[in-house]
């Protein structure tokens, strides 16, 4: 009896998860705000910045770097800001608020699978955003990227984990969709600012640059920047991202509720 039961469990162990991924994927396509803000908007910004003639000129006489070159890592982080603040937490809070998570928890499948499916969908979205931005900027706008491959993957992975744990943190502490939206709006502009979306940090006073480098987004931009200029990123931004991840995840796990 017990052996037979566990066979059944093994057989169907991965199926419900992929069914959930499929459903969550369809729901994202039907309510595409995370695609619009997380993927389409950064691509739009890429095209916009690429069309500004002054952005295509070297910043100074000692370098061939242009303002536009500086924007690529910033846009990669913008994808993560949008997905971390909006794409990931809002559906989770909604599913909890309407009792969908609770409904799932009456079945043999744990609602943790739904959360994992939501993470998977958002990782796919972020990857689509990254690839489009990198390929588009180098093919269409001729941005000269010299990847330090391990450095780049490490940086983008740490940045993704940090911003996703911020997303889960919002999902954990926001009691309602309204609260989650409020938190998103409160964090959105500061994070976009410190990532350098309005103006790249390089053109701001050094005191602000220091502050930015200790935010998760500023650190992410810094690490990505070095790894896209052929260098392994310096240790500080990597540690900053890791520290934020640890804090965000700790709080998220502590406060997360299924109902």
């Amino acid at each position: 009896m017990t052996a037979k039961d566990s066979d059944v469990t093994l057989q169907k162990s991965s199926k419900p998860f992929w069914e959930l991924v499929k459903i969550q994927g369809k729901l994202v396509l039907r309510e595409p705000y995370s695609i619009i803000f997380g993927v389409a908007m950064p691509i739009f910004l890429l095209i916009l910045f690429g069309s500004v003639p002054t952005f295509r000129e070297p910043i100074s006489s000692e370098t061939t770097m242009t303002v536009f070159d500086l924007y690529l890592p910033i846009l990669l982080v913008t994808v993560l800001i949008m997905i971390g603040l909006l794409g990931l937490p809002i559906p989770v809070v909604r599913d909890r608020e309407i009792g969908w998570l609770r409904r799932i928890s009456t079945t043999p499948v744990s609602p943790a699978n739904l959360l994992a499916a939501q993470l998977t969908i958002n990782i796919i979205l972020a990857t689509v955003g990254f690839v489009t931005l990198v390929v588009g900027s180098s093919l269409i706008f001729g941005v000269n990227i010299v990847f330090h491959i391990p450095g780049f993957f490490l940086s983008i992975a740490l940045a993704t984990i940090a911003m996703f744990s911020l997303g889960i943190l919002i999902a954990a502490v926001a009691p309602s969709q309204g609260a989650a939206n409020g938190m998103m709006m409160a964090l959105l502009y500061p994070l976009l600012f410190f990532a350098g979306v309005y103006v790249p940090m390089q053109v701001l006073p050094s005191s602000l640059q220091t502050v930015a480098s200790f935010t998760p987004v500023g650190a992410a931009v810094k690490a990505l920047e070095s790894s896209m200029q052929g260098n392994f990123p310096s240790i500080t931004p990597l540690l900053v991202m890791t520290a934020y991840t640890a804090v965000f995840s700790y709080i998220a796990i502590h406060y997360f509720r299924w109902e």
Binding site: T9, P16, E19, L27, R30, I98, R102, R103, T106
Partner: protein, 333 residues
Amino acid sequence: MFNTENLAKKLGKSNRINEPTNRSHIVTVDSIHKQYGATIAVDDVSFSIAEGEIFGIIGPNGAGKTTTVECISGLRIPDSGSITVYGLNPRDNHEEIRNIVGVQLQESSLPPRIKVWEALNLFASFYPDPLNAHDLLESLGIDKKRNARFKQLSGGQKQRLSIALALIGNPKIAILDELTTGLDPEARRETWTLIERIRKRGVTVILVTHYMDEAERLCDRVALINHGRVIALDTPAALAAKEGGEIHMQFMPSAPVDDKVLTALPGVVSVEHRGNRIVVAGSGDVTTRVLSALLKVGVQAADVQVKSGNLEDAFVKLTQTNDKIITREVSQQ
């Protein structure tokens, strides 16, 4: 002090588990207690449910009905007491219980843009031996809506989908919580027919409701819960007869009747004249007694109407009496 109490409870519990379970009883709830902080949701609830029964749990709002069924489904673990479902303990046999118990939750909704068939297919993938989604939708009469999104469904259709989700895993027991709240009278009646059909499939139904007409119409037995305790457990008819108050019988006599003929009968409480009609209030088999007494004096009764107490009367009387007792106990303390 605290530990000894706990130990006693544990011992008591394990003794009960070792008792041979009654074969026809598939659900046994034995003195469960559950509180959230200082609030006691379920104080002391016990009952057993037989296979194939429609078992009703009725009671005022906040009486502990939902918490009780949540404990049966394994969504919550009681602080003390024990529950067995087909011999399994919801605490230790988490997954097995969820395979055999289908739950329709109060105030639980689906993502607004999910389609009917998608939700059913999803839930079907959660169970080892699910029903055919198409057949189920057909038997619930929402097959035409299979491509509709959840938010496009009417209240009745949402409830049907909710029932479908509770049944898709081919459960042995279906727990339906406040199923018809917010439905129009027609949709309610359709849902009742559905529940009877579910039982015909051999599914045991646990129905939580605060509609007495629903319980009266559907349930084989009902447990009335008040302040976290079962204060009555019987068939709806027996509860209505026992606690539903007096029987009111009215008729038009073919000739004048002396009141004494009627007041002398056992069980008769009062006799009243309303125009050319006589109203007799009483209890027990007062109807038969009045009719045979009339026959003896050669009077015929025309247009006889009998209104017996119903479950709602019983509900109100039982909960009010219980509330008074509790208030008295509290004021004495």
